[in-house]
Symmetry: C2
Subunit: 191 residues, 2 copies
């Protein structure tokens, strides 16, 4: 998605070789006009898939998921992160390891909102190691819902998550795939 790549080149800040700060438009301050274009593009890519639920994870996926849902005319569910170990039986729960924060947390979704009648599109801002996305896929599987695929805004294609999940047969559509980045040369895209 060219508009997104331009915006990353213009306003993204690279730290070291693996941190890309996009907090001026994507995940702290949020450019809603850009989100509308992102949502349209996800809709174009997953048109005619029968998507009736969008699933994301708090916090930075929520805004993108909500704007995207307008183009699918469906509700959004956001998975909640919790450090509580004793989860009651009313939720689907899975464990996710956060590489950024160096800890493992539980991710939960109420059983009321996902089931075999659903066709789910997962939406998130970043895909790197794929831990969060794998957690969401596990929750969809537990619920018996069908997975249409995952719509990702920025994939760090030099990290293994995207390729591993595609190899497992998951349809992963990333709007900007970063092949390499450095403070000197900025961001290089995969395509």
């Amino acid at each position: 998605m060219e508009l997104l790549k331009q915006r990353i080149r213009q306003d993204g800040i690279v730290k070291g070789n693996d941190v890309l700060k996009v907090d001026s438009f994507l995940n702290h301050q949020m450019d809603i006009a850009l989100f509308e274009e992102i949502g349209k593009e996800f809709q174009r890519r997953f048109a005619n898939c029968g998507v009736n639920k969008i699933l994301t994870i708090e916090a930075s996926g929520i805004g993108i998921a909500c704007i995207t849902a307008q183009f699918f005319h469906c509700p959004v569910i956001f998975a909640k992160k919790t450090q509580t170990k004793n989860i009651d039986g009313e939720v689907f729960a899975t464990q996710v390891e956060s590489f950024t924060h160096g800890r493992i947390y539980q991710v939960i979704v109420s059983k009321k909102f996902l089931g075999p009648q659903d066709k789910v599109l997962i939406v998130d801002d970043f895909l790197a190691n794929g831990a969060a996305l794998e957690g969401l896929i596990d929750i969809v599987a537990q619920s018996g819902a069908q997975l249409a695929g995952a719509g990702i805004v920025i994939e760090k294609a030099f990290q293994p998550g995207g390729d591993r999940l595609r190899a497992q047969g998951v349809r992963v559509e990333s709007l900007a795939r970063v092949k390499a980045m450095s403070e000197e040369n900025g961001v290089e895209f995969a395509d």
Copy 2:
């Protein structure tokens, strides 16, 4: 807002005398068509206020804020909750006491995204004791921005936050004000 009150009556679940679960449409599963009506209503109430930034707090305020921002044609900033004590100088920070979770956390917003040139509308899903809203108001004050007011989806009017902030001169617009509730009689609205 009649549509919202109807929805709360229909799908809200009262636990005891002070917990109102609206997770089927507001803060876990999110009904985006309803959010559009909420956003329109906030825009109607804060029209001609010169709002150029919407501020909310993770996680459940984000979706409502993003849909609302489409009607104001402005970006959204979401304040982040952190338990880190050593906050660097690049953020506005304030402390918020969570009555729900029984702890105090830091709330931060990057200094890059709020300043004296801004006119801010705060948006959140719930107002009860007012601790989160006071924290956001403090951040707006630290930044030198002007506060247009706060747009709240559900106010627990039997708790003191809304009245205390109005007495301080803050314009608080709540779309549904709950006067009382019980498992036997459901929800009673203030107006």
